[in-house]
């Protein structure tokens, strides 16, 4: 498919989300759409998918101007939008999900058998190893992502839009996805690939377009630009690509502040490590290695089967989360939308929520105090908010995450557990959060970061624990960190090497 979007503009009330943006994708091309959160990428794609109409501008497909795009029309034109949040019904089977809304039927009755057969063909073609009759609830996130893509293939889509498809995938799963994408590319399928992860964009894309603040910035062949230059373009200022750890004195002090002994629980066992004051420890591992489970268990959100946690050399009671917080542990959970934000509460209420539960002695709350607390967070974290009484959902992803961080800084904990704290946010906000984590370590706090992105590990880790099959497989010091090493230990490859 040859797609051209010409001078597209779109406003939401007073906010100009898109200003005369032009964009073209050729047949069999993987086109990276780059921009920070709020740059207008998703809005542009929603216009293309017919979610809402543009205010002005044209969509031209294979030389024909398309008037009044609707979701149905875009489906008919073989455009498929795979959203960042997966849209699968967990209680239905894989094939039922793939055919949802477009079932094979005769006289109103479903024709299940041909559906299963066709779905299985697609899944096999993609080399997924997924059975079409499996309930979706039995699949892991990576497999669900593949089912979404399978759904797009089922109807021979010619243009597949992928919004941050790899946030929940590990390196191997991403590679697998790329293999499938390349295969489809040779068959003439076009892709629009939205991602914040530069290395991936540079690996898979043929062309790029950068948007910033709703405006078109630059477009071209991916070979003619560097990662560094692309990052500069999308954040709009000369981006200093320094590593925060270089040229900095280590903040790590002698005394241990947080220690685990032989922790066991669902998905992990015999996990022992310690965190010193001022130290940033990153825990990494592939999906299913037990990192997710360990993160929640360290905070008392899921039960431990055995072992002890010591904070300031005293045993930490995991009786309740509130108790853990009072003992001086704070936790920024993964998956902001599901676990972090309380969408109906205002920005400033979200900011104070943890403080109320852990530190505020009186049962009464004061909006004025809440307001002052938010003002402080806002200055400290550079949160861009028009009105702090608005719901937190009015903010961009990066700013929401900053509010969540602010909420936990409010309790002034000694140890912070951060479970994928920069998931799905733009480069600028990411960098701000890294700086903040370093500032925390400079204050002598212990920080445990769960992350699976190597550049992030590199920016943060004094030490890195690599998990494999629920155990700590290696402890790497900053000096020994490399993507290869981490990959080796997280895939368990070191054991298979011939001596």
């Amino acid at each position: 498919m040859n797609l051209e979007m010409k001078d597209i503009s779109k406003s939401f009330g007073p906010v100009k989300a898109l200003r005369d943006v032009s964009f073209r994708v050729d047949r069999g091309q993987i086109h990276g759409l780059l921009g920070e959160n709020g740059a207008g990428k998703t809005t542009l794609m929603n216009v293309l998918a017919g979610t809402f109409p543009q205010d002005s501008g044209q969509i031209v497909i294979n030389g024909k101007v398309i008037q009044g795009m609707t979701p149905r029309k875009s489906g008919g034109l073989k455009i498929r939008f795979i959203h960042q949040e997966l849209n699968l019904c967990n209680d239905l089977r894989v094939y039922q999900n793939m055919f949802l809304g477009d079932e094979f039927s005769r006289a109103g009755f479903l024709k299940t058998k041909p559906e299963i057969k066709r779905a299985q063909e697609v899944l096999d073609y993609m080399n997924t190893g997924i059975q079409a009759e499996t309930p979706v609830s039995d699949l892991d996130t990576a497999q669900k992502q593949l089912v979404e893509i399978g759904r797009a293939l089922l109807f021979q889509s010619e243009l597949i839009i992928m919004d941050e498809p790899t946030t929940a995938l590990n390196t191997r799963e991403i590679e697998n996805l790329f293999v499938i994408m390349r295969k489809l590319k040779t068959e003439g399928v076009s892709f629009i690939y939205i991602s914040h992860k530069m290395p991936e964009v540079f690996e898979i894309c043929d062309a790029y377009t950068v948007l910033r603040d709703g405006a078109f910035i630059q477009s071209g062949d991916i070979k003619e630009i560097t990662e560094h230059r692309a990052t500069e373009l999308l954040i709009g200022k000369t981006f200093v690509s320094t590593n925060l750890k270089e040229g900095q004195d280590s903040h790590v002090r002698e005394d241990t502040i947080f220690q685990t002994r032989h922790l066991g629980g669902a998905g992990f066992h015999d996990v022992s490590f310690e965190v010193h004051r001022g130290e940033i420890v990153v825990i990494t591992g592939l999906q299913g290695s037990g990192t997710d489970e360990l993160a929640t268990a360290l905070f008392g959100a899921t039960p431990l089967k055995g072992g002890t946690i010591l904070i300031r050399d005293r045993p930490l009671s995991l009786k309740s989360i509130k108790n853990v917080m009072k003992s001086g542990v704070g936790m920024i959970p993964r998956n902001r939308k599901e676990r972090g934000i309380v969408p109906d509460l205002s920005i400033q209420q979200n900011n104070s929520l943890a403080y109320w539960t852990a530190k505020h002695p009186s049962p009464l709350v004061s909006r004025k105090e809440e307001h002052e607390r938010f003002r402080r967070s806002q200055v400290k974290l550079d949160i861009k908010a028009a009105n702090e009484y608005d719901p937190i959902t009015s903010l961009s992803g990066g700013n929401q995450q900053k509010v969540i961080l602010g909420k936990w800084l409010e309790i002034d904990a000694d140890v912070y557990i951060m479970d994928n704290p920069t998931q799905g946010i733009d480069v600028g906000s990411k960098f701000a959060i890294y700086k903040l984590i370093h500032a925390l370590s400079a204050e002598g706090k212990g920080v445990i970061v769960f992350s699976s992105e190597f550049p992030e590990i590199r920016q943060l880790a004094d030490r890195c624990l690599v998990m494999y099959k629920g155990r700590i497989n290696a402890i790497l010091n900053y000096a020994d960190l490399s993507e290869m090493e981490i990959m080796k230990y997280s895939t368990g490859a070191q054991g298979e090497e011939p001596n």
Partner: protein, 321 residues
């Protein structure tokens, strides 16, 4: 008040049609009432609206909390019938109105606590727990009453009746009770940690838990608070009627309470709501039925009109999204 702060006229208008839409519908309804009955604003009529709405209104305050936390309580009517029937028995035995009141509050607290424990410790959906309670409590009071009414004895009649029928400085007692409970609940929801937690749980339970909120305890407290209010309602109902029919007392209270909460702008999914909204919602339901009577709409159609108005009110609130 954040209504007029730092905002231009357009924002204020958005706020009125959005966040404060229950005020808008309330005012429209008042206008309609005045048109149908020019003497609507007489004190006797106005206070009568409060008196009529007070008993369900107090239940609606409890329901407001339950719904704001993303739950539901269907047991209101049956709980009120049970407690008021037993309350009259206690009154006749102890010969004390005060002990009767204490009993009603205590019984309400226990009834609510049972709901709360079943929901939190038993991990059963509130809909199911309170559906079962609705059926069970009604059955118990029917059995105890054996079809007959619970009636206050002749010597206690006047003392009991005085509570609901009396006035304080021209203000009917029932109206006072309703307003005081509204104020207490309003403060509870807007000025305390507890209130914030209720909304947080209704909005995103997992995020609330990970912020250190003990979700189970808050939910149990919500049901207990609501139950205690049902107990107060039951006492006032007993006082107002002095004779409780086991089979019919309090019937459909849960429906009226839910309707008032919905008209008042509380999200049925939880997370968002205002106590003033519920307060106005209760009055709106009352005004609607008064207006219908004055407009000589056949009484059987009352429910239809009420149903339509509930849908319109909630549709108007959804529009703001």
């Amino acid at each position: 008040m954040t209504l007029f702060k730092n905002r231009n006229i357009k924002d204020v208008w958005h706020n009125i049609t959005g966040n404060y839409s229950h005020w808008l519908s309330f005012i429209i309804l008042l206008l309609a009432a005045v048109i149908v009955n020019p003497s609507f604003f007489s004190w006797s009529n106005l206070s009568n609206q409060f008196v009529q709405g007070a008993i369900v209104g107090i239940c609606a305050m409890g329901m407001s909390l339950v719904i704001s936390a993303g739950m539901i309580d269907l047991s209101v009517g049956s709980a009120v019938a049970l407690i008021s029937g037993l309350g009259i028995t206690v009154l006749n035995r102890t010969q004390s109105v005060f002990l009767c009141l204490l009993f009603c509050l205590g019984a309400g607290l226990i009834v609510g606590l049972i709901n709360g424990i079943l929901v939190t410790k038993g991990r059963i959906a509130p809909f199911i727990v309170t559906l079962a309670a609705m059926s069970a409590w009604r059955s118990v009071i029917n059995q105890l009453g054996q079809g007959g009414p619970f009636t206050a004895s002749r010597e206690m009649y006047a003392g009991l009746r005085e509570v609901a029928a009396g006035n304080y400085l021209f203000i009917p007692n029932l109206m006072l009770f309703f307003i005081i409970i509204t104020i207490i609940t309003g403060i509870l929801m807007s000025k305390t940690k507890f209130g914030t937690y209720v909304y947080a749980i209704g909005s995103n339970q997992l995020a609330a838990r990970l912020s250190g909120i003990s979700v189970d305890r808050v939910k149990t407290l919500i049901f207990t608070y609501a139950g205690t209010l049902y107990g107060l309602s039951a006492f006032l109902l007993a006082s107002r009627l002095t004779s409780i029919q086991a089979a019919s007392a309090g019937s459909a209270y849960e429906m009226d309470a839910i309707a008032a909460v919905a008209i008042g702008g509380t999200s049925m999914a939880g997370g968002r709501g205002k106590i003033t909204g519920t307060f106005l919602g209760v009055l709106m339901l009352r005004i609607i039925s008064t207006v219908l009577i004055m407009a000589r709409v056949p009484p059987f159609l009352n429910g239809l009109v009420q149903g339509v108005i509930i849908i319109i009110a909630v549709l108007a609130q959804n529009r703001k999204k």
